[in-house]
Amino acid sequence: MIKVGIPRALLYYQYYPMWKTFFESLGAEVVVSPRTNKAILNSGVTRAVADTCLPVKLFLGHVVSLIDKCDYIFAPAVINLGRKTYNCSKIIGLPNMTRALIPECPLVLAPQIDLGKWRYHLYHNIYELGRRFTSNPFKIQKAMEEAWKSNLAYRNKMSQEGFTCLEAISGVRRDEPRPDSGFDSSPLLTIAVIGHPYVIYDDYLNHRLLLQLQLMGTKILVPEMVPEEELDAAATRLVGAPHWSFETDIIGAGEYYLEAKVDGLINLSVFGCGPDSMMVSFVKHRARELGTPFLHLSLDEHASAGGVLTRLEAFLDMIKRREKICV
């Protein structure tokens, strides 16, 4: 059986169920790289140029960990996800960077996903991808349809039933961890965490920030819990027509949750992220207008769990004290 390796990084968090269904219905076996760990981080960091952002370095590390375990690496070049928008250059150039920086890696499957072009272009690219597994075009079409269905189901699970990405992928809902007794948990704070899914859900990258927040007795909201149309509408209200394909994750979710009057907003971003550097200033500006506490956490490979934790505690203490004064 042909084995397809999918790195557990970047677009994995948004599209894994879709990719898995596609390859499995074509009769291939899907191998996912292990969760991010120190070895993966190190092998990624040593390969790339220093200025590269951490998620891309982690992606490379995940690819290295898949060498010898699969026949193909799947790394699509997602150019955009809609007309007149664009993805980050690093995501567009991902397959080429993978080939250049990891010469020993298995063949990289890199279909171009460009929804700004004709629909035919997309279908053609998917067909070309499927041809590696079967010569039957109907089988490829069926796999494509099933993949799309599973993608919709995955989205619904998150936006309707309030699953987070990881829970929806595994299908198991974790119990909310009980807050530590050390924290005063009587008024449950609602904190919205905005950012790219590959930053919010990579526990190693963000030092288990979501779990820490839950342990401190807060209710967490993430962008995926809101239907996409509402995020789009919120983004348009704040800055107008979107420029980036993932603008909804930051601007849309930021504006949506600020309007919903959350107690605090945390932006989780990585150092050197080009799109974030521009978008965050809008959300920050809006938060200042509405008087909502806003924390911008910029992570990189040198960030330490202790430092992140201290800042979180200080942020939550600040919110609590503020509410006491206001009441």
Partner: protein
């Protein structure tokens, strides 16, 4: 209406020419003072920390234009080209917060380029008649083309002149003279005169200049303040610099010939294909292709200029070392932390390396 523009290479010459040609008075156009450390500091102070250098510099420049009383500002915009699409949005908000109630007019540099530039000129000039707008436009472009012609010569002369600094002085005079010229014929005459003068500059007979190509992000490549006069410094070290990216070339192709299906980067893209097979925004694709091109043309080295955290250029930087065509590349990251001495040391080391390589190649 008082229109202000940010500095970008010699663009101000063209804009000034067009505006005056169309009867704008001195008070209607605000050209900010040349960029200085103060421009940079203001840009840094009012920009998001992780924004790129072109954003900070253009913001600083626009603030200086506002201080001189500009109420309408021109800035580039576009989709599919990195952060540039967000420049106008972010800067407009920042200037509003600073208390300048400036209105932005944006030039689309990705789609409908020609139409949006003509519209910009019409906006700036209270709907002057079409034929006048077009004639003024071509006059402005003519000046840029003349400046680029002179600049192409000065890059070669700087490396071989016997007394350092003469060519640069002549170039600065040429910019002034072309800026003041009042007709297309005069511009052509001035360009010719200065090119002749440059060619007559006494040369060092023993000079055998190294040839280096400059590639990278368009703003830091073209704006000397952003790259700390890297071309002049290389000239002082006796290096002949070549760069394909010039303003007049961009205008010639992007505004006219691209619509006729002529792509100036075709050859470069073809060379980049084996390593990077599609556009990644900005100038990343071109940087990879140009590296291959310079290697094939037998250049001694390549200098890759990129603003700090520039996404397309990081992709290019990651891919460049893997090309089969071997040529030394010096990646210079331009940001506000860059110090002139540090850059000079790196340039000297790079030039030494190139000289060593050439001597070894020639068997000396």
């Amino acid at each position: 209406m008082r229109v202000g523009i940010p500095h970008f290479g010699n663009v101000y010459v063209a804009i000034k020419t067009m505006a005056y040609r169309l009867g704008a008075s001195d008070s209607e156009l605000v050209i900010p003072p040349p960029m200085t450390q103060r421009t940079l500091e203001m840009g840094i102070k009012y920009s998001p920390t992780e924004a790129c250098l072109p954003y900070k510099l253009t913001l600083g420049s626009l603030i200086e234009a506002c201080e001189l009383g500009a109420d309408t500002l021109a800035q580039a915009r576009g989709t599919g080209i990195c952060r540039l699409g967000y420049y106008a949005r972010g800067q407009e908000q920042m200037l509003y917060d600073l208390g300048y109630n400036a209105h932005f007019i944006t030039v689309d540099v990705s789609h409908h380029k020609l139409a949006s530039i003509i519209r910009l000129i019409k906006d700036m000039t209270n709907n002057a008649p079409w034929h006048e707008v077009i004639s003024a436009f071509f006059f402005g472009i003519g000046k840029l083309a003349a400046l680029d012609r002179v600049e192409n010569v000065v890059r070669k002369i700087r490396a071989v002149e016997s007394e350092k600094g003469v060519a640069n002085r002549i170039y600065r005079e040429a910019v002034k003279a072309i800026d003041d010229a009042t007709s297309s014929k005069e511009v052509k005459g001035i360009a010719k005169e200065y090119i002749d003068r440059l060619n007559r500059v006494p040369r060092n007979p023993a000079a055998d200049p190294l040839k280096v190509g400059i590639v990278g992000e368009i703003y830091v490549v073209i704006e000397p303040f952003a790259n700390m006069d890297i071309e002049v410094e290389l000239g002082k070290l006796g290096v002949e610099v070549e760069r394909t990216m010039t303003l007049s070339r961009w205008i010639k192709y992007s505004l006219f010939l691209n619509y006729l299906g002529i792509d100036e980067w075709r050859e470069v893209h073809k060379l980049a294909k084996p390593y990077l097979d599609h556009d990644v925004g900005g100038d990343g694709w071109e940087s990879v292709g140009e590296k291959v091109l310079y290697a094939r043309r037998g250049y001694d080295g390549v200098i890759h200029l990129a603003p700090f955290t520039c996404m397309p250029e990081i992709v290019a930087q990651n891919i460049m070392p893997s090309t089969r065509e071997d040529i030394p590349v010096l990646a210079v990251t331009c940001d506000e932390q860059m110090a002139k001495q540090g850059m000079l040391t790196r340039l000297e080391a790079f030039v030494d390396l190139l000289g060593f390589r050439r001597r070894r190649r020639d068997g000396r």
